[in-house]
Each structure stands twice: as structure tokens, then as C-alpha cells.
Amino acid sequence: MSLIDLSSVVAGYGGVPILNGVDIAIDASDIGVIVGPNGAGKSTTLKAIFGLLKVSAGAIRFAGADITNARPDALVPMGLGYVPQEKNVFPSLTVQENLEMGAFVRTDGSGDTLASVYEMFPPLREKRRQKAGELSGGQRQMVAMGRALMGKPKLLMLDEPSAGLSPKYVLEIFERIVAINRGGVGVLMVEQNARQALAIASRGFVLAGGKNLFTGTGRALLDDPEVARSFLGGAKPA
């Protein structure tokens, strides 16, 4: 049984659907990466999983339970964490308050998780009393990921975590993602930085026009000449 399992999902904002039958399945040990051209439905897939838009056909299962069209505040306690691409912090709340909001649905104490998030992102501990809106882009991304981790998710979904970051930060964020995954959290992310992302991926999905075009291990997709030509900007550099 996969951790998350989308079968033939059709979804959109009312009107013409944006997803026309997407299939995605990953396990808790996987890092799944969704790549594809603009408008392919990458971000929409994550939103559909998270109940932010209407799924009109197909099914989404999480750890065996049907979560098609479930509300976000029901999904978070089940173990789904989601980091949107933009506006992913509460700017006027302090860093620590941002993290606490991630643990809003938890009824058990979240002190241990807070300590481990600070361990993973040391700059956040220093700036915990600072407002999140005053942080740099990379630190904000850390706050956003930390916030999602505070809910102790089984699956962490990231929408373009490297967008707008300097190359140094991109590397750092990807390292953290691998570390999170080693800690037993499944990761499903959308990335524009396709080559770098597929390099750390165990599962890769190429979407185009709201459909799966290629599915395979990250390695296999990177090596596929067709994928490389169409979606990775030419052949793999020697």
C-alpha cells in the first residue's frame, strides 16, 4: 500500500478541468518529484490532494483512507503537510509563532518537534522572536518547511521549494529535504529546478496538459533522452 495514491484524478476550478487523469503513487520512503512545463497541472495536483479545489473524478487515498475532497483542517491531523509556493509564512507573526501554528491541530505537546525543527534549521532558533516577514527568502522557506513539519506529517508536500532562492540556498534546502525523508517522512514536491530535483528523487513524474507523460525513478527519467530533450532543456551535460 502506497502512502499517497492518486488514480485518474480529474480536477479543476469549475469549468474546464486542469487535471485530466493524473496517477501518482509514492511510499513513505520516497521522495517524489513532479516536473513538467508551465500550466501542466503540477501545483494543481498538490492542491487537489490537499482539498483546495474540487476533484470531479478519480480517487485520492492517503495511507489507505479515501481523502478525495476532504477539507484541509481534516487532512492536517491525518498527517499531511503542505508548503505553498508563495506567501507561505505569516509575516506579522514571530518565527516561533509561525511554527506553533503548524502544530495547531496537535493535541499532544509539540515541544520536542519544535526542538528538532530548530536543530534542523539553526538560523530559526536565533531569529525565533523576529517577525517572519522580516526574514530573507531562504529563511522564510525554512520557516515554511518548519511550520509544516510541526504537524508531524507522514507526507510533506512542497510547491517549488527552491523558487526564488540563491543557488547556495537551493542546495541547502534540498539537503534538508533529503534529511527529512531519511527521518521517515514521505516527500512529494513540485520543482522547476527539474534536473537537480530529479537527482534526489526516488520517484519522478512528468506532467503535461494535466496528464502523466512519463513515470519512473528519478534516475530513469534523467537518463531518458526524450524527457531530457523535452523537459530538462537538452541532453544531459557530459
Binding site: G12, Y13, G15, N38, A40, G41, K42, S43, T44
Partner: protein
């Protein structure tokens, strides 16, 4: 769509005829005159909100200005005032205001001739203060003098229809000033700013006894057509005199309303109208296409306010009394909104229907609730709870509640109004078609 409008108008006609039988012809003609004046005002709001998406919650202010204009033009000349020092003192105050305005505008441009910005700002603030103090030193004694002597300045003794024209012009002028300052605000701030302006105009006209006699009220404001008294003097019976006189008045108002409606329909379908709608639906895009959004919005604001001023000048001269303290936001701003929202914002036919229908509801909910209360009172008396006290005054209040309920229900069940704007795929208030954000 036209069929729907036709049926609704037929229904309205039937309702008016029924009212005629129930309440008598003089009442119904009066209702029609007032409803037509309100229709003119509703068309004004429809230009601002329906065409332009501008949030004007200050109708009361424009209405009061229009009413004042009718009084100022139409009331007889007061020789007492003109023979006194009043005109001279007021003239000096006006001059002081003019000089003050010039100084303020001048101070605003000092940076262009090399003054540093901070110095210019400081001087401008000082200019405002100095101009205000200078104006007060002139106007305060003038007011005291006039109120002690001739009481108020009287009118100009001209035909009252000139007052209607002046009402439109004055309201337009004030709207231009307000629009210059406030139209850049986001919609909800604009609503609050216009409410504030209306409250200030209200406070001014209510307390400027020298100009409007304030709470003492002015009457009788003249009619542009023969009054019932005139018909009676010519030997018509009292009942008939009311019908004839009011019908004459109605005819005049209907001509004005018809002309306004015709011109607005032409404008709506012209390139100008299409552009204003484009700005309303997406002013960022219109701005990017090089359309002068601010200038266009200012046009709409001024034009709509002019119609409001004319409409209320007509109302005041029909009622023959101008009582500044009788104006309130509920009766003179909110009711217009109910008319336009219920009728169908953006559609002149809808605004017209809304105006007549809502005015009918407004007037009729009083006798209907009186009847209702009396009936209930009969029951409560029968079972020994005693009668409902003050039925008459309570019935008057019922209509405010009824209109509030009407607009709340309209927003919920017919958000685009009874006759929606044609071809409006998405209207304000409805969710926009969201687009995928991956582009």
C-alpha cells in the same frame, strides 16, 4: 432578458394601478412624482456603481446640495439682507476663501521653483492654517451679523427649474472636488470617506442658519408648474386640483427622467460606455492598456452626482419644504442602494424598476404595517394583553426594517438584481472564474 424586463414592468404597472384604487389618485400621483425623482437619483448611482464600480455612500450629501440649490434659486429675494451689510461681509469672506485657496495652491507648487521639499511641505501646512484662520476672521462676524439681523440670505427669486439646474451643477462641482481627492482610494475606504463627506455636508447645511435657516426650515419652495392652490383659485375642486397640479409636475419630471434615461442608454452602448465597463471589471488591465482610469472614474462620479443633485432639487421643490435636519443616511443613501441592487446594478432599466418598486414598498409598508399592527392589537386586546401602544409611529419605522430585509434577501437570492446587466458574465459580488496559478 427583454421578456423578463417586460413582465416585471407589467407587474409594476399593475401594482401602481392597484395602489391607485386602494389609496386614491392624489396619493398615487404624488408617489409617482417622488418615485420618478428617486429614479433619477438611482440612475445617478447606477452610473457610479453600475457603470464604474465606484462606491458612493454619500448620496445624502449630494441630495442636500441639490435641495439647497432649489431653495436658493427659487425662494424670493430678501430685501432685508441685500439692504444690510451682509452681502458686503459675505463677499469679503468669499474673497478670503479665494485668497486662501490661492495661497494653498501656490504653496503646493513652491518646490517647482527650487524650494526644498521639506520647506515646501512645511509652508503648505502653514498656508492651510493661515488660510483657515483668515477665512474664519471674515466669515464668523458675517454669520453673526446676518443671523442677528435679516436671519438668512433668502433666495434669488428666479424660476425654480433654474434651481434644479444649479442643483446638478453644484452637486457636480462638489463631486469633482471629492473625486479629485478620494477616487484613488480602495472601494471600502471610498465608502467610508463618502459617508464622512455626507455627514459633514449634513452638519454644515443643518447649522448654517444664515444660508438655509437650518432647523427653522424653508417653505414654501415654489413649483415650476401651477400648484394645487392655483387650480383652486381657478375654480377647480380640491380633489381635482391636486390631481391636475401633481400630474403637471409628474409630466415635467417624466420628461427629464426620459431624457436622462435615453442619453444614458446611448452612453452605455457607446465606446465610452464599453471602456468604463472595462475599467470597472479590471482597472489594472485597463490602466495597462493606456486608458486614463482616474479621469474616466471622475467623469462617472461627477455625472452621477449631478443627477442626484437634480433629483433632490425636484423632490424639495415638490415637497415645498427644505428641512436639512430631516435628512439621514438611512432615508437618503441606503434606500438608493436598495433600489439599484434590487433592480440590477449596471442596467438602467433595472435601476429604474428598482427605484419605482422600492419607493412603492417604502411608502406602502407604512399603511400595511399600520393595518397589520392594528389587527394584531385587536387580537392582543381580545386575549387580555392590552393594545399595542403608539401604532402610528411604529408603523413609520417598520419600513426601514422592511428595506433592510429586502436588500439582504436580494443579495442572497438575486445578487445580480431583478433585471441583471446584459452580457455580464461575471458581476461584482460573484466569484471570479479562478485561473490556475501555474501560468
Amino acid at each position: 432578458m427583454m421578456q423578463r424586463a417586460g413582465i416585471l414592468y407589467l407587474g409594476l404597472f399593475a401594482l401602481i394601478v392597484a395602489t391607485g384604487f386602494a389609496m386614491g389618485a392624489p396619493f398615487t400621483v404624488r408617489l409617482l412624482v417622488e418615485a420618478s425623482a428617486y429614479a433619477l437619483i438611482a440612475l445617478g448611482l447606477n452610473i457610479q456603481w453600475g457603470y464604474g464600480g465606484l462606491f458612493n455612500f454619500g448620496m445624502m450629501g449630494f441630495l442636500m446640495i441639490g435641495g439647497f440649490a432649489a431653495v436658493f434659486m427659487g425662494m424670493p429675494v430678501s430685501p432685508e439682507f441685500w439692504d444690510s451689510d451682509g452681502p458686503w461681509m459675505l463677499g469679503r469672506a468669499l474673497l478670503a476663501a479665494g485668497v486662501g485657496a490661492l495661497v494653498i495652491v501656490g504653496a503646493g507648487r513652491l518646490h517647482r521653483i527650487g524650494f526644498p521639499r521639506w520647506l515646501q511641505r512645511t509652508l503648505q501646512v502653514i498656508a492651510w492654517i493661515a488660510a483657515y484662520i483668515f477665512f474664519r476672521t471674515q466669515i464668523d462676524p458675517a454669520i453673526a451679523y446676518i443671523e442677528a439681523g435679516p436671519e438668512w440670505i433668502g433666495g434669488l427669486g428666479l424660476p425654480v427649474w433654474l434651481g434644479w439646474v444649479l442643483g446638478g451643477l453644484l452637486a457636480a462641482g462638489v463631486a469633482w472636488l471629492i473625486g479629485k481627492v478620494c477616487l484613488g482610494l480602495r472601494s471600502d475606504y471610498l465608502a467610508i470617506a463618502t459617508i464622512g463627506i455626507a455627514e459633514i455636508i449634513h452638519a454644515l447645511l443643518k447649522n448654517m442658519d444664515w444660508l438655509t435657516r437650518g432647523t427653522l426650515t424653508v417653505s414654501p419652495v415654489p413649483w415650476p408648474v401651477p400648484r394645487p392652490q392655483d387650480f383652486q383659485a381657478w375654480g377647480t375642486s380640491i380633489d381635482a386640483s391636486f390631481i391636475y397640479a401633481r400630474s403637471g409636475y409628474l409630466l415635467l419630471v417624466l420628461v427629464i427622467l426620459g431624457a436622462a434615461f435615453f442619453l444614458l442608454q446611448r452612453a452605455y452602448h457607446s465606446p465610452w460606455g464599453r471602456m468604463t465597463r472595462a475599467i470597472r471589471d479590471n482597472h489594472v488591465a485597463a490602466d495597462a492598456m493606456g486608458k486614463d482610469v482616474r479621469a474616466r472614474q471622475l467623469q462617472l462620479f461627477v455625472l452621477g452626482s449631478a443627477l442626484m443633485g437634480i433629483g433632490c432639487a425636484i423632490l424639495v421643490s415638490f415637497a415645498q419644504i427644505y428641512d436639512p435636519s430631516s435628512y439621514s443616511s438611512v432615508n437618503h443613501t441606503f434606500i438608493i442602494w436598495v433600489m439599484v441592487i434590487v433592480g440590477g446594478a449596471g442596467n438602467n432599466l433595472g435601476a429604474l424598476l428598482g427605484a419605482f418598486l422600492i419607493y412603492l414598498v417604502w411608502l406602502l409598508s407604512e399603511p400595511v404595517s399600520q393595518w397589520l399592527f392594528t389587527t394584531i392589537s385587536g387580537w392582543t386586546e381580545a386575549i387580555g394583553w392590552g393594545a399595542i401602544p403608539d401604532i402610528t409611529s411604529r408603523s413609520v419605522q417598520m419600513r426601514v426594517f422592511v428595506l433592510g430585509l429586502v436588500i439582504a434577501l436580494a443579495l442572497r437570492f438575486a445578487p445580480r438584481g431583478l433585471i441583471p446587466e446584459i452580457g455580464a458574465g461575471r458581476r461584482r459580488g460573484e466569484p471570479k472564474q479562478q485561473s490556475p496559478d501555474e501560468a
